[in-house]
Amino acid sequence: MVAVTSWGRLSRDTHQVTGISGRAQAAAQIHNHQPGICYGNGRSYGDICLNAGGHLWQTRALNRFIHFNEETGRLRCEAGVLLRDIQRALVPRGWMLPVTPGTQLITVGGAIANDVHGKNHHVLGSFGDHVLSFRLLKTDGTVLDCEPQSDLFKATIGGMGLTGIMLDADLQLRPVKGPWLTTDTVPYHSLDAFFDLADQSEHDWEHTVSWIDCLSGSQARGIFLRANHADATPAGAKIPGHKQLNMPITPPLSLVNRLSLRPFNALYYRLQARKAGAGIAHYEPFSYPLDALQNWNRMYGPRGFYQYQCVVPTAVAKPAIAALLDSIRHAGAGSFLAVLKTFGNRPAPGLLSFPMPGATLALDFPNQGDRTLKLFNTLDSIVRECGGRLYVAKDARMPAELFAAGYPNLPDFLKHRDPGISSAMSRRLFGS
């Protein structure tokens, strides 16, 4: 038995860990180790990849490329390949993943199981929109080829790893001229200004995201970032090295706390506001700034942290985001990594995909036990009332009824579950 944590480090329960060493061996290796759930690179925040006291199937050894077509940009690879390895191998050859989240240290299987999104949702949708096919191993040993028109495909995109063990996938990459982005940094001083910027930018900018100082309540100030892929290598641009800093130990207390948060946020705002205007950036530091700091999750101390990410529908986005920010301020809580962005008006590829037309707010909170959970209940009630939903990749605590209310396709999805697969999250949200 091995103690396993997910990215939020909220629990250290022991698991029976079985490594899957290859596609051909997978069926035999999991045969006597069921029910379980796949564990990729452990970057989801809550319990979607955990199974306390039960089996975990580690998929990181499924990390081989299978085929790449340089003409069409179609890549076939195993499900444990990291998005980083795809990008580093293929960006120099002019191809990039169309959609990546704020870290590229996740597996292809994890990206599909959570149907992750990035800063360009209004243009390119979510990760699942670019999956052409995959092979799924059921726990009874059968292997199924899945294509976008099939129901099992739609259930597996955003399906929390509960429909089978993904062996390999076919991904459509998008052509790029190089690793560079032209960026524009715009400080804003109210939520209205944020929504105006988001509207104005939707047409001309592929990537849009904003950092928000959530201590400032609904009178929010923040930094709006937008970017497009550059056509050529900008003069004087230097490709950054792969230097990594490391958070070597877990401090005894969260470094993000009441005392540090206000100066942190003020400093961050000032530093970013100084960069206002046009710039150039390499895609790695622009898209995955935290990947440069290994083990950054340790800064929240031994009790770990929660991430709360919700989406609220377009029609009520402004008042709902204001109400969420006000509740956080009233609770005296706050978050350093607060991200606010809008999603485009696109149909989602998966039955349980998170993105919907509206605005999404993501916040990190150090785990302070009941105090933190109480705040989440307040935030939940705002999300529930406006018809929003929470993101399972980040969740460790949402009530089952909120999940059912936010994901109306749930009954359809449940028909496609593999009975040999169960996770801490699946038991929490559907009782099995």
Partner: protein
């Protein structure tokens, strides 16, 4: 792609389907090697690895070979064939298995197999390659030993003894080739997260990532260090274990 100009061009990997060897191959492919000869016992596994490397670097010329790793004549023939194609810049001898110690104690046939594949076989490959490398006066030969070879322990002394044989043999080659342009490197990985150690992970052992171990090996070979512990912390740990007085060591359950 740093220093492509002086990166090794022609690389031979024996036991290329081992997890550590595969990740070394990826590093070398990325660094700009031109020829990779992959040798292993299983043709199917080799094909998957070659497929992966071709996606990573389409320009890389990959040659896959299989052979008998326990027959001296077959080893000689294999090495002669490989070196006829050109003189290698790097040879990495990486094959091995992690035998079950208690089975080795009960069954001498299993014991003999374990000693053969982890000890005899790698040194025969090493001797065969060194002859060619000395003749051409260039290249680096790296052999994967193990921290287990540093001191016999009850939990794995059959494996440890085989790796100890490798260590002494490499030491002898290093002595013989002192001052020669041909370098000989002994690599000693600590417990690494690969298919070979899957059962250790099951028991809760803390294993180094295979990427990190491969990086240390590739860097160590490039630097031409005589001994590379991977990760480096094992140099310190094994120095302590080697020097523990017997009355302390004998009380330890390791």
């Amino acid at each position: 792609m740093a220093n492509r100009s002086n990166s090794p061009q022609r690389i031979v990997i024996i036991g290329a389907t081992s997890g550590i060897a595969e990740h070394c191959a990826r590093r070398w492919a990325q660094q700009g090697a031109s020829h990779l000869t992959l040798v292993a016992r299983s043709e199917d596994k080799l094909a998957l690895i070659a497929q992966d490397l071709r996606v990573r670097r389409p320009a890389l010329h990959i040659d896959c070979q299989t052979g008998d790793f326990t027959d001296p004549a077959a080893i000689q023939l294999l090495v002669d064939n490989i070196t006829r194609e050109g003189s290698p810049d790097i040879v990495l001898i990486a094959h091995g298995t992690l035998p079950d110690q208690s089975l080795c104690q009960q069954n001498l046939a299993i014991n003999a197999d374990a000693l053969m594949i982890n000890g005899m076989s790698p040194v025969l490959f090493a001797e065969a390659f060194i002859t060619h490398m000395v003749a051409t006066g260039q290249g680096t030969l790296a052999v994967i030993g193990s921290v287990a070879g540093d001191r016999g322990r009850k939990s794995n002394y059959v494996y440890g003894a085989a790796k100890g044989l490798v260590m002494r043999y490499v030491q002898g080659l290093q002595h013989r080739l002192a001052g020669s342009p041909v370098k000989v490197v002994l690599v000693k990985p600590g417990p690494t997260d690969t298919a070979m150690t899957a059962h250790l992970k099951h028991q809760g052992a803390k294993l180094a990532s295979v990427e990190d171990v491969a990086n240390s090996i590739v860097q160590g070979i490039q630097a031409g260090k005589p001994t590379v512990y991977a990760p480096a912390k094992w140099a310190l740990i094994m120095m302590i274990i080697r020097h523990l007085p017997r009355f302390v060591f004998n009380r330890m359950n390791i």
